[in-house]
């Protein structure tokens, strides 16, 4: 758009600022709440400027020494569980999808299209639909309360496979042929040519899948029963005490802030790659 109309420009700015406020205000309030002692939060009106209890609140939740009626598991441990889970899910998904897309695009084997469609159809089944049978399998295999139980069932990904397949289809055939003449076998071609060419798509998928893994709620709720295997997202919920017991809102909000940090960091650090991966292809 190269229009030169000051009023329109102003209007666009106003709309954008309103949008930013709507998105950012809750985050700001969460931050403010995480810096106040509990009395300050529960006595209206709630303060809108940061308070003086920031250090206390954050150290308390990280070590699990906060007061109140909810769970007192250490948020530090939960963050580690979440981080490991999200990383394993993201990396596992990318590795598996790259390989399956490679097989589907570059090899002629019986029932190739059947396998492709079988993978494709699972796109239509969200985790929730198959959650009961998956739980049965995971528990029979003794994977409850383990990292394997948290991650393996979430690794298979039709979306990523499909995305890589579409990307591989755009790689010119001559490149495959040139590498055949150069003497590269299929796996060599995969490592030396396809994976480097997919770099940007891999980065984009990593961001999406990391956040997907980090935000898992329902599945970890089912397969974890011990406090040291809870991811942080569940931890937040468990810190809110039911009944008459008092909830330490400062601690809850501090945990929420901490839970938001890693995905935000991943997005910030990989933003350039992420956009590149969604927008262009290096060819």
């Amino acid at each position: 758009m190269v229009e030169r109309r000051p009023l329109l420009g102003l209007l666009a700015n106003v709309v954008l600022i309103i949008g930013v406020l709507i998105v950012a205000l809750p985050v700001y309030i969460t931050f403010v709440a995480s810096t106040h002692a509990n009395d300050a939060i529960i006595h209206p009106p709630m303060p809108l400027t940061p308070g003086s209890h920031m250090v206390e609140n954050y150290t308390a939740v990280l070590t699990g020494t906060q007061e109140g009626g909810g769970s007192k598991a250490s948020v530090g441990q939960m963050m580690i569980v979440s981080l490991v889970t999200a990383l394993v899910i993201a990396i596992g998904k990318i590795a598996i999808s790259l390989l399956s897309a490679f097989a589907i695009v570059y090899f002629r084997f019986p029932f190739r299209m059947f396998f492709f469609w079988a993978i494709f159809v699972t796109l239509m089944l969200p985790v929730e639909v198959r959650i009961a049978p998956t739980y049965k399998v995971v528990s029979d295999l003794g994977m409850l309360n383990t990292y394997a139980g948290l991650t393996v069932p979430l690794i298979a990904s039709a979306t990523a496979t499909f995305l890589f397949r579409q990307f591989f289809l755009t790689v010119p055939d001559e490149l495959t042929e040139a590498s055949r003449i150069d003497g590269a076998g299929p796996l060599r071609f995969f490592w030396d040519v396809l994976v480097p060419l997919s770099k940007t798509s891999i980065a984009a998928l990593f961001v999406i899948q990391f956040i997907y893994g980090w935000n898992q709620y329902l599945w970890p709720l089912l397969v974890t029963t011990s406090e040291d295997m809870y991811p942080v997202v569940i931890g937040i919920k468990r810190m809110i005490s039911g009944g008459d017991a008092q909830t330490e809102w400062g601690a809850v909000m501090a945990t929420a802030m901490l839970a938001m940090l890693p995905p935000a960091l991943v997005v910030l650090l990989m933003q350039r790659w992420f956009v590149k991966g969604l927008v262009d292809t290096e060819k």
Binding site: P172, E174, E177, A178, S179, R180, I181, G183, D192, K199
Partner: protein, 352 residues
């Protein structure tokens, strides 16, 4: 070293009666060090034939051998060939150096040796300053040279070129053509070059294979193909504008085309229905001779193309631009020397 023998090669896609046959019984013997151009219109099977030599397409029937070894079931990398693709097929994420070195790395050539070979190829192709760049930072002509460099460093006994010049602009194409010729003179490696461009074919080839619809029409030097085309297809395909073909009946020194009788400078090789071929540049306007009804004149600078009819048959004449130009509606009289007449059988389209 480097001789290629193609014997009764057939290519068909699919199986059984529905199979689509694209190469029909092609045979050719190529000596070591020869520069052979395969030329033909799009879809004539020339690229398929080249890809069968490269090992990128399976051979349905027949046999191809390189340097005396049958290669029907040999992997492309084991055939001692190198190929230059139409769109260059450079690895986009590798530097120019790595692009050239990749095949050698896989072949486990020592690093020092790789460096020597790549540097040498880069020197020949004047790519020295660009070794660290990525292909996307190069111009079309430079990418072309990298693709050739990748072929050279392998030190193969056969080079295969699949229309390598068609993505270049006209000026660069002429320049690269000369470079390829120079390269061939220096390295003396057997080369198989596919193109649809007859100028490229004529200028590069030591011998050319003219193909049409999956069949070989003629194999010969550019001179032979031009002066003695074996079929009407070759006559029409090589030379620009194409040879005029007049369909008529010969009787001694007379040739009847659509009711008009032409006097021949020398008797036809046989009487009866024949096709008479005359190149536009071999008919000279004069005082007497065949009557050409002029319809249109094109000025090309050094020469003029005169389009018209002899009887009912279209005929094109190419004349020197210094001669006075005829106008539409004029009648031009044409003389053709006896040895410039080409005779073809009307049924088989073969040269008589």
């Amino acid at each position: 070293m480097g001789a290629i023998s193609i014997r009764n090669v057939v290519k068909r896609y699919g199986k059984g009666p529905k199979a689509n046959q694209v190469i029909h019984d092609v045979s050719a013997e190529i000596a070591d060090g020869e520069f052979i151009v395969i030329v033909g219109p799009s879809g004539c099977g020339k690229s398929t034939l080249l890809r069968m030599v490269a090992g990128l397409e399976e051979i349905s029937e027949g046999q191809i051998s390189i340097s005396g070894r049958v290669v029907n079931d040999v992997e492309p990398s084991e055939r001692d060939i190198a190929m230059v693709f139409q769109n260059y097929a450079l690895y986009p994420h590798m530097s120019v150096y790595d692009n050239m070195a990749y095949g050698l790395k896989i072949a486990k050539v020592p690093v020092a040796e790789i460096k020597v070979r790549v540097d040498k190829a880069a020197a020949i192709l004047q790519l020295g300053p660009y070794l660290a760049r990525k292909p996307r930072e190069l111009s079309g002509g430079q990418r072309q040279r990298v693709a050739m460099g990748r072929a050279i460093v392998r030190q193969p006994s056969v080079f295969l070129f699949d229309e390598p010049l068609s993505n270049l602009d006209a000026k660069l194409r002429a320049q690269t053509r000369l470079e390829i010729q120079k390269l061939h003179r220096e390295l003396g490696v057997t080369s198989l070059f596919v193109t649809h461009d007859q100028v490229e074919a004529m200028t590069l080839a030591e011998r050319m294979i003219v193909m049409n619809a999956g069949r070989v029409e003629q194999i010969g030097t550019p001179d032979e193909v031009y002066t003695r085309p074996a079929t009407t297809f070759v006559a029409g395909f090589i030379g620009s504008p194409p040879m005029n073909l007049l369909e008529g009946t010969a009787d001694g020194s007379q040739f009847t085309v659509g009711g008009v009788t032409l006097a021949l400078p020398q008797p036809a090789p046989r009487s009866g229905p024949l096709l008479l071929g005359v190149r536009p540049e071999h008919a000279d306007p004069g005082e007497a001779g065949w009557a050409l009804q002029v319809e249109m004149v094109e000025m090309l600078g050094a020469e003029r193309l005169v389009h018209g009819h002899i009887g009912q048959t279209a005929f094109t004449l190419r004349m020197d631009a210094t001669l006075p130009s005829p106008h539409a509606g004029d009648t031009v009289r044409l003389n053709v020397a006896g040895e410039r007449l080409h005779w073809f059988d009307r049924a088989t389209q073969q040269r008589v």
